[in-house]
């Protein structure tokens, strides 16, 4: 007797809804060993996601300024996934306008523009690590 994929899934459902922590079924045809709550790890660990490359430093653009990350952390353009971005290209910002969040170990830091002008380019990806000093936005300053 062999087990189909559906059989295995059915057994897992039964164990999930039972009080059992561990189950071993051994027949001449197969051995099934299930442990509830355990995570399996393949030898050598989980497949590694490619190491994110550093964001290349954008060349300066005449007549514009950059808003740079005042700290290392995870860059977010929105207050939460359901919110619109704090700022977008074409938006006017004041020095104290919040332009993004940088999260450092669950601590959300509201980052202000530090300059008055118009956002002309977004230079960092939301949800990605930004380094200290990394350019986040390009701004055409007022009166430039």
């Amino acid at each position: 007797m062999a087990l189909s994929d559906e059989d295995v899934r059915e057994i897992l459902r039964i164990i999930d809804s039972s009080q059992l922590e561990e189950l071993t079924i051994e027949t001449p045809a197969f051995l099934l060993h299930v442990i509830k709550g355990a995570t399996t790890s393949s030898p050598g660990g989980a497949p590694l996601e490619a190491l994110p490359a550093p964001t290349p430093t954008p060349p300066p653009v005449a007549g514009t300024l950059e808003i740079v990350a005042p700290m290392l952390g995870t860059f977010y353009r929105t207050e939460s996934p359901s919110h619109p971005p704090f700022v977008d290209v074409g938006d006017d910002v004041l020095s104290d306008t919040v332009v993004c969040l940088i999260e450092v170990m669950k601590l959300m830091n509201h980052i202000q523009a530090g300059v008055a002008g118009t956002i002309v380019e977004v230079l960092a990806q939301s949800g990605e690590l930004v380094e200290f000093g990394q350019p986040l936005f390009r701004v055409a300053p007022d009166g430039a």
Binding site: S41, G44, G45, L48, E49, L51, P52, A53, P54, M71, L72, G73, T74, E103, V104, M105, L107, E128, L129, E131, F132, G133, Q134
Partner: protein, 446 residues
């Protein structure tokens, strides 16, 4: 090995050293750097460098949250703190572990206990290790009673303090009266706590430390001792393994004491148990336990033919030690000289600047651990260590000869260094004879 990508929370030669082992093991490495270390050798050799913050260590290398965030943000699964900076910070160990990273070092609780000198001392005493005679006192009468019991000289310091500040040395009763009054007033003013700690000073002491390794499965072994007696202002300059002119019986006792302490504190990973050895009395006392890889670890690597960083990673990965005590043996003798950017003409003041030329010779038995090359900037913000020269030979004379040659052939330009001092030390008859204590160098320089 399940560690696939390692975050290195350090800089300088030790960051380079750790990257090299990662490369040999096929582990990816990410180094966190400050803005002034962006173009450092470690940043270049690592698979990736991330800028943690500004030059001042308090805003970059010493920030627990930033280092952990950088490790997570670059997909690392472990964090190596090196030495110095956050290496003995229980906060980093616990934050890393809480974030699901493997911390390459002992658990936070062990670091905290070892870092509390009085607790560590009590633990050593309970484990049957000899400790330097000392106790807490308040009154002058108590201080006098202690000196009467143990003799002079004695050291007095604030029990609540630390870091070697405000230590008073008393060689006789008169100095004790004066020192006690001063120390008590200072302790009260600085800490709001007049309790003092009085300790017997061991005048001709050697500083000898035991390298230990402990896995998660209860195994503890030692990799011999290192002699680090050649110091200036508590800064080690030359280290060696094994310790010269150490009676075999005393060595055996020291090594056993190191293992005993490691077991008593529940040690994990690589660590060092330090002792002061009273040469005249032929005895030793427990000093402290360092929960990190030591600067001078290469002398142990040389004589044992080991990669201690690889061992740290294996232990952090949960692997059992691959060898038993009976399987490890030392071969030959190794010396290490620390080349620092310090100006002998200005009383060894740090001499940061641009290294215009750096070339170490290639000699049989010589290893050079460095972050320097032509054009390297030695920033004024961090320690002044430029390179470690490690000479290994079948015997001590051979190691001394190799080191002498290495120091003579080393080319360094652009910053003042202690090279001449190192050359003089290793050629000095007292050093050659293996007859130095921790106060020798200061006396010899006078």
């Amino acid at each position: 090995m399940t560690i696939a990508r390692l975050f290195i929370a350090n800089r300088g030669e030790i960051a380079v050293r750790i990257v090299r082992t990662c490369r040999e093991l096929g582990i990816e490495s990410v180094v966190g750097v400050s803005t002034v270390d962006r173009d450092s050798l470690a940043a270049e050799l690592a698979d990736r460098a991330v800028v943690l913050g500004p030059a001042h260590a308090s805003e970059s290398y010493l920030r627990v949250d930033t280092n952990v965030a950088a490790a997570l943000g670059t997909g690392c699964d472990a964090i190596h703190p090196g030495y110095g900076f956050l290496a003995e910070s229980p906060a980093l160990a616990s934050a890393a572990t809480a974030a699901g990273l493997r911390f390459v070092g002992p658990p936070a609780q062990v670091i905290a206990t070892a870092g509390d000198k009085l607790k560590a001392r009590a633990l050593a005493q309970d484990a049957g290790l000899p400790v330097v005679p000392g106790r807490e006192i308040v009154t002058l009468a108590q201080a006098e009673a202690f000196a009467g019991e143990h003799g002079y000289p004695v050291l007095l310091k604030a029990a609540a303090g630390g870091g070697g500040r405000g230590i008073k040395l008393a060689g006789d009763l008169e100095q004790l009266r004066l020192g006690h009054a001063l120390a008590r007033a200072e302790a009260g003013a600085a800490f709001g706590d007049e309790r003092l700690y009085i300790e017997r000073l061991i005048a001709t002491a050697r500083h000898i430390e035991v390298q230990i390794a402990a896995d998660d499965h209860g195994a503890v072994i030692e990799f011999g001792e290192r002699d680090c007696s050649t110091q200036r202002r508590y800064q080690k300059l030359v280290e060696e393994a094994p310790a010269p002119a150490l009676a075999p019986g005393l060595r055996t006792e020291l090594l056993a004491a190191g293992v005993t302490f490691a077991r008593a504190i529940g040690y994990r990973n690589l660590g060092t148990v330090e002792f002061v050895v009273d040469v005249a009395a032929g005895s030793f006392h427990f000093l402290e336990c360092n929960c990190r890889i030591q600067v001078e670890h290469p002398v142990t690597e040389a004589v044992y033919g080991l990669d201690l960083v690889a061992l740290q990673l294996a232990i952090a990965d949960g692997e059992p030690l691959a060898f038993a005590q009976a399987d490890v043996a030392a071969h030959g003798h190794a010396l290490e000289c620390r080349l620092v950017a310090e100006d002998p003409a200005r009383d060894f003041a740090p001499s940061p600047g641009r290294v215009t030329r750096f070339a170490a010779p290639t000699l049989p038995g010589l290893r050079v651990d460095t972050h320097c090359r032509d054009g390297t900037l030695i920033p004024p913000f961090y320690d002044s260590l430029m390179a470690k020269l490690i000479a290994h030979a079948p015997d001590r004379d051979g190691a001394l000869a190799t080191m002498g040659q290495a120091l003579a052939l080393l080319e360094v330009e652009g910053v003042a260094t202690n090279r001449e001092l190192l050359a003089r030390i290793i050629a000095h008859p007292r050093f050659v004879a293996g007859d130095v204590s921790t106060t020798w160098l200061a006396e010899a320089l006078r």
